[in-house]
């Protein structure tokens, strides 16, 4: 609770003396003890303004002038939209064609593998259980130090590794980690 004598949308002329007023509340609002809550409430539920174009008063005062500057004309706007959708379509088709080529390569490889060796084909098609640990892994983990054990456990079978970096706008400050301690992962 803070003290205000004038201004900030309170009713100064009707009151005499010192009255405790909250800076966060305005005329006609229920005031709680938390000013932040009041601000949030005011922006989530704006009061109705009946004499303006938009009932919740959501536009900027010079919206017409700003829009005139932003949009050249109706025809120009529609042309831009169509050009963008066409561009997106080109990108989509290219992406789909690339994926189709890759998939066909994979299908060809699996067909040939099936003809060559059925056991290898079956093993290649096996679904990987993320929680399973192969015999080789269990054997290897018995003689590993704690950090090495953690390294093995963090690489979950069938999932992307956490270290695979998502592209950002600028490269990392430390560059590429060229020095990596050689660690033998037990073959699954």
């Amino acid at each position: 609770m803070s003290v205000s004598f004038l201004k900030s949308n309170s009713k100064p002329f009707q009151l005499r003396g010192i009255v405790a007023r909250l800076y966060s509340t305005r005329k006609g609002e229920v005031s709680s003890s938390d000013p932040q809550k009041d601000t949030i409430r005011r922006y989530l539920y704006p009061p109705n303004i009946r004499n303006k174009a938009s009932p919740t008063g959501t536009w900027r005062p010079d919206v017409a002038r700003a829009l005139q500057r932003a949009i050249p004309s109706v025809q120009a706007h529609e042309t831009i939209e169509r050009a963008w959708l066409l561009h997106q379509r080109h990108l989509r088709k290219k992406r789909d064609a690339e994926l189709q080529r890759k998939f066909n390569c994979m299908r060809q490889a699996m067909q040939e593998l099936e003809e060559i060796d059925s056991r290898l084909f079956r093993e290649a098609n096996k679904q990987e259980d993320p929680r399973a640990r192969s015999l080789a892994e269990v054997e290897a983990m018995k003689s590993m130090s704690e950090p090495e054990k953690r390294a093995v456990e963090s690489r979950v079978r069938g999932l992307f590794p956490r270290e695979l970096r998502i592209p950002t706008d600028t490269p990392p400050k430390n560059g590429w980690p060229n020095e990596w301690r050689a660690f033998q992962r037990p073959l699954a």
Binding site: T58, I116, K126, G158, D169, P171, W176, W180
Partner: protein
């Protein structure tokens, strides 16, 4: 044709399947295979080609793609429309009144208005106060991000993994084959009873050292290649290379000097210039375009 059905377990396409590969095969081969298939029932491996695994090791893009001029213009256009029409921004929720952060935000906001709509917009009301002058000073001294172009791009250092951050890079090794230096993906043989993806991991380690944190994506091969069979080895020996996709996450290649002379991390276009024509035809569809 009867001997073939003895071999096959379920669906097996007719003889044409043998000729379906990408490499050209000698016409004498089927005749030789017919003889071999008579005792194929006894030993399965006679007609079976030699298996090899190749590894397509990919360094994924590090930075996002640069938008084209059209995309940039479109994004700017949409940003202007949004700026004209958006709901009022809750300034007093985010910025305490009179704080230097608020002054700095106001300066930046006025600049953005002027840039979006032109001169009459974004005009300053009142004179610059002390807080604003301080805010402008801090904006000038701010630290900059790393540049998107690395020195490896300028120097064309093909071994550096920070070159061409936007593109997918693939590992290529230079090997000696029949006295000629050829560029290929890392390759390894498959032992008896060994699974293909294990053979891929092992082969990569043998050829490129174990100073890399790699991840082979799945148990499935992503492609197959039939190297042209040499006349010296005879028509019966056939090789098949199954390719596996892997990602490098950390580390660098330390090539095994006995097998390989050189290595390079190349984009798809650069691979095309270095690799033989028939090898390129076999591998081009497995690689990412960008």
């Amino acid at each position: 044709m009867f001997s073939r059905t003895v071999l096959s377990s379920c669906k097996r396409a007719p003889k044409a399947s043998l000729l379906r590969g990408l490499a050209t095969e000698a016409s004498a081969v089927p005749a030789v295979l017919e003889v071999a298939q008579v005792d194929a029932a006894l030993s399965k491996k006679t007609a079976r080609p030699n298996l090899h695994t190749g590894i397509i090791l990919n360094r994924s893009p590090i930075i996002t793609r640069t938008p084209t001029a059209f995309e940039k213009a479109y994004y700017a256009y949409q940003a202007r429309i949004h700026r004209a029409l958006h709901n009022p921004f809750p300034y007093d929720f985010y910025f305490k009144q009179g704080s230097p952060l608020e002054s700095r935000f106001n300066i930046e906001e006025r600049r953005r208005e002027r840039k979006a709509f032109g001169a009459p917009f974004g005009m300053q009301t009142g004179e610059t106060s002390e807080a604003e002058k301080l805010a402008e000073a801090t904006m000038r001294d701010e630290e900059e991000a790393m540049p998107r172009v690395h020195e490896a791009d300028i120097n064309s250092d093909f071994k550096n993994l920070q070159r061409r951050g936007q593109r997918n890079l693939y590992l290529l090794l230079q090997k000696q084959e029949n006295g000629m230096a050829v560029w290929r993906f890392p390759q390894g043989s498959v032992d008896r009873g060994e699974l293909l993806h294990c053979a891929a991991t092992r082969g990569l380690e043998v050829e490129c050292g174990n100073n890399m944190d790699t991840w082979i994506v799945s148990r499935n091969p992503i492609g197959v290649f039939h190297p042209p069979s040499l006349a010296s080895t005879g028509g019966t020996e056939k090789d098949v290379v199954f390719f596996y996709k892997g990602h490098i996450v950390a580390g660098q290649v330390r090539p095994n000097r006995t097998h390989t002379q050189d290595f390079a991390w190349l984009t798809k276009g650069e691979i095309k210039t270095r690799v033989d024509a028939d090898y390129w035809l076999g591998i081009k569809d497995m690689l990412s375009d960008f």
